[in-house]
C-alpha cells in the first residue's frame, strides 16, 4: 500500500531517485516482498503451533494479555522506528534514540511523584508528557542544532534521565494510586482492557500518520535521501526535531501505562532499551522497504510477546527466551540479507 502511495503522492525528487534504480534493485525489491510474506507466514505458523500445543494460548483472554503485556514495549519501539525513519538507517550516523528506556523510567517517576504530590490526573499527565517531550527536545537540540551524532547525544541524555529518575525516586519503589491508573488496568471494553486499547489506538494513529500522510512520506524522504529532501525545499531540521519530540511523547505515554501496571514507579523498570532496539530493527523483515515501519514494529513486538507467553504456557524455562529471541532474529535477518545480497554488496 505504502509504495503505491509513494508513487502517487511523493514529491518529484522521489520519482527521479526511483529512476536511478536499476533492474537488479527492482528484482531485490520483489525478493524482499517474498521475504516479508515469508516472515508473516512464520509468525502465523508459530502462533498456530502455540495455539495447538500450548493449553490456553488461543483463548481470547490470553491473546488480550499478550497485547497488554506488549503495550509498553510497542510504544517505545514505535518511537524508535519513527526516529530511525527520519534519521536514516545507518546505525552510527543515522537516527537512533538510546534514551527511550531511561526516558520511560523518568516519566514514570514524574507521573508518580506528581500524582503523590496531590496533582489531579490531567495535571499529572500534562507534566509527564511535558517531561517526555522535553527529553525529546534536548535530544533534538543536540542532534539538529549542535550536530552531535544521534548515537552519542542520546547516550548522554540516557545517563541524564537515569540520574534524574534516581534523584526523583531516591532509588526506591514509589507507589501511586489514581483513578486514571486504575482505569488503565481495570476498565475494559469489548473484552479488551484500556491498556490494549491504548496500543490499538496508538498503532492506528501512527500507521496513518507515518505511512498515510504527506508529513509521513516526507519524513521518510528525509530519512532516505537527506540531501535530495533538502534540495527539494523540505525543512529537514524541523522533521528531525519532530521525530525526537514525538518519540519523547510516546515514551511518556508508555510511562503512564507502565505506572499503571507497576502501581507507580520502580527502579530499573526502564531497563528495556535493548528489546526496544531489537524489535524496532527486526520490524524491517515485515516491511516493504529496508527501513522500519510502524506496522512491522507492531508485528515484531507481538511476535516476541507471543513467544514469551507461549513458552510460559508450554512450561519451557524462561532462561531460553532471550536466546531463542536472539537466534530467531538473526535467522530472519540472515535469510533476508542473503536473499537480497545479489542485488547489493
Amino acid at each position: 500500500m505504502s509504495s503505491n502511495l509513494i508513487a502517487e503522492q511523493a514529491p518529484a525528487f522521489l520519482d527521479s531517485s526511483a529512476d536511478l534504480e536499476d533492474r537488479e534493485t527492482r528484482r531485490a525489491r520483489h525478493r524482499s516482498q517474498i521475504i516479508r510474506l515469508g516472515s508473516i507466514a512464520a509468525l502465523v505458523a508459530v502462533f498456530a503451533y502455540f495455539g495447538v500445543a500450548a493449553p490456553g494460548f488461543a483463548n481470547l483472554g490470553n491473546l488480550a494479555n499478550i497485547v497488554e503485556q506488549s503495550t509498553v514495549l510497542a510504544l517505545l519501539a514505535f518511537s524508535m522506528s519513527i526516529v530511525v525513519l527520519g534519521g536514516g538507517g545507518d546505525v552510527i550516523r543515522g537516527g537512533i534514540d538510546l534514551s527511550l528506556g531511561a526516558n520511560l523510567g523518568l516519566c514514570a517517576a514524574a507521573f508518580t511523584v506528581a500524582s503523590n504530590a496531590g496533582f489531579s490526573d490531567p495535571v499529572a499527565v500534562a507534566i509527564t508528557l511535558a517531561v517526555g517531550a522535553a527529553v525529546g527536545l534536548v535530544n533534538a537540540f543536540a542532534v539538529v542544532a549542535l550536530g552531535v551524532l544521534p548515537l552519542l547525544a542520546t547516550l548522554a541524555v540516557m545517563n541524564i534521565c537515569g540520574g534524574a529518575e534516581l534523584v526523583l525516586t531516591q532509588n526506591t519503589v514509589i507507589s501511586a494510586n489514581s483513578p486514571l491508573l486504575s482505569y488503565i488496568t481495570g476498565a475494559s471494553w469489548l473484552g479488551l482492557s484500556m491498556t490494549d486499547w491504548i496500543l490499538v489506538g496508538a498503532a492506528i494513529l501512527l500507521i496513518a500518520l507515518v505511512h498515510g500522510t504527506r508529513w509521513g512520506l516526507r519524513l521518510q524522504a528525509v530519512g532516505g535521501q537527506r540531501q535530495a529532501a533538502r534540495a527539494a525545499g523540505l525543512r529537514v531540521s524541523a522533521y528531525l526535531t519532530g521525530t525526537y519530540v514525538a518519540a519523547g511523547l510516546l515514551a511518556a505515554l508508555a510511562a503512564i501505562v507502565q505506572a499503571a501496571r507497576l502501581s507507580g514507579s520502580s527502579p530499573g523498570s526502564g531497563d528495556i532499551l535493548l528489546s526496544v532496539v531489537l524489535t524496532s530493527l527486526m520490524s524491517v523483515v515485515f516491511s516493504r522497504r529496508l527501513l522500519p515501519s510502524i506496522g512491522g514494529t507492531l508485528l515484531s513486538v507481538l511476535f516476541i510477546g507471543g513467544l514469551i507467553n507461549g513458552f510460559q504456557l508450554l512450561n519451557v524455562s524462561s532462561y531460553w527466551v532471550n536466546g531463542v529471541q536472539g537466534v530467531l532474529i538473526l535467522f530472519v535477518v540472515a535469510v533476508r540479507s542473503l536473499s537480497l545480497r545479489r542485488g547489493s554488496v
Partner: protein
Amino acid sequence: MSATTAPTRPIGAQLVRVTTPAALVILFVIFAVVSPTFRTPGNILHILVNNFSLPALVALGMTLVVSAGGIDLSVGVAADIAAMLAVTLMQNGTGLGLSLIAGIGGALLVGLLDALLITVFGISPFLATLGVLFIGESVQQLATNGGTPIYLVSNYPAAGLDFLAHGQILGLPLPLWLVAAAVVLTQLLLSGTAFGRHLRAIGAEPRVAWYSGVPVRRATWLVYLLSALLCGVAGLLLSATVKSYVPLSGNAFMLDAIGAVFVGTTISRETRPNVLGTLLGVFFFGMLHNGLLLIGWNFYWQQVAIGLLVFIVLGISFLTRRLQTTD
C-alpha cells in the same frame, strides 16, 4: 556530515580538538582542589587500575571495530564468557594457565560468531552483535541455573590469579601493562600498516573499498576477533580482581566503551576513532566516577553530572566543528 569537506584553519581546528582534553584538565583540577584524597598518587593509581584499565581494554577493541564502520554490542558477552569458563575451570581444580587460555578461547568464540554473522550471513554489525548479546545472556543463565555467581574464595591457590589483578612489574601494576600492550597493538594496526588503511577505507565506504580490492571480509574477521580478545582479557582481569564470576556483569562496559570511543573521536581532525582519544575518553569517565564519589556527591547526582558533562563536551566539540565547516 564529516569535517573533511572544508580545509580548516589550523588554529581553529586545534581549538575544536582541545575540548575534551581541556574539560578533562579542568575537572581534574576541580577534583584535586575539592578533595585532598583525589590528588594523592595512590588514588590516581587506583583510578588507573580499577576505573580505567578494564574499560580501556574493551574500548580499545571497540576503537578497531568502529574504525571499520562497525559496532560491537557483544563486548559484555565476550568478557562474561571468558570469566565464566576460566572461573568454572579453576573452581574444578584446573591449573591457572589452562583456565585462562580456555577463557580467552571462549571469548574468541564470541568474536568468531559475530564475524560469521556479519561476513557470511551479511547481517548488519549492530543487529548481529545485538543478537549475540541476547544469546549470550541465555547461555549464561542456562549454564549457571539462572545466574548463580561463582566465588573463588578460599579453596583456590590463587597466587597467580592475585598476581594478574594486583601484581606489579617494574613498579607498574599488571593491568596497566596489559592496557599498554593493547595500546601498542591497536595503534600499530590503525596507523602505518596496510591493514590500518584498509580499515579506514572500509569504515569510510565499504562498497568502494570492496571494489578497489580491499579484503573487506578478512579485515572484518580480524577486527571482531581482536575486539573479543581484548574483552576476554578484561573479563579475566575482572574475575581476578574480585575472585569471582558473576553472570551478566560485562554489559556494564558496553555503553561506556561506545561513549569513550566517540568522545575520543572529537580530538581527531577527521573525527575518526583513534587510540589516544579513546584512552582520554575512558579516563574521563573513570575520573568522573571516582572524583564525584570522593567529593561526596550522592550517587543520584553522580549519574546526572556524568551525563551532563558528556553532553556539554560533545555539544561544544560538535558545534565548533560545524561552525568551522560552514565558514
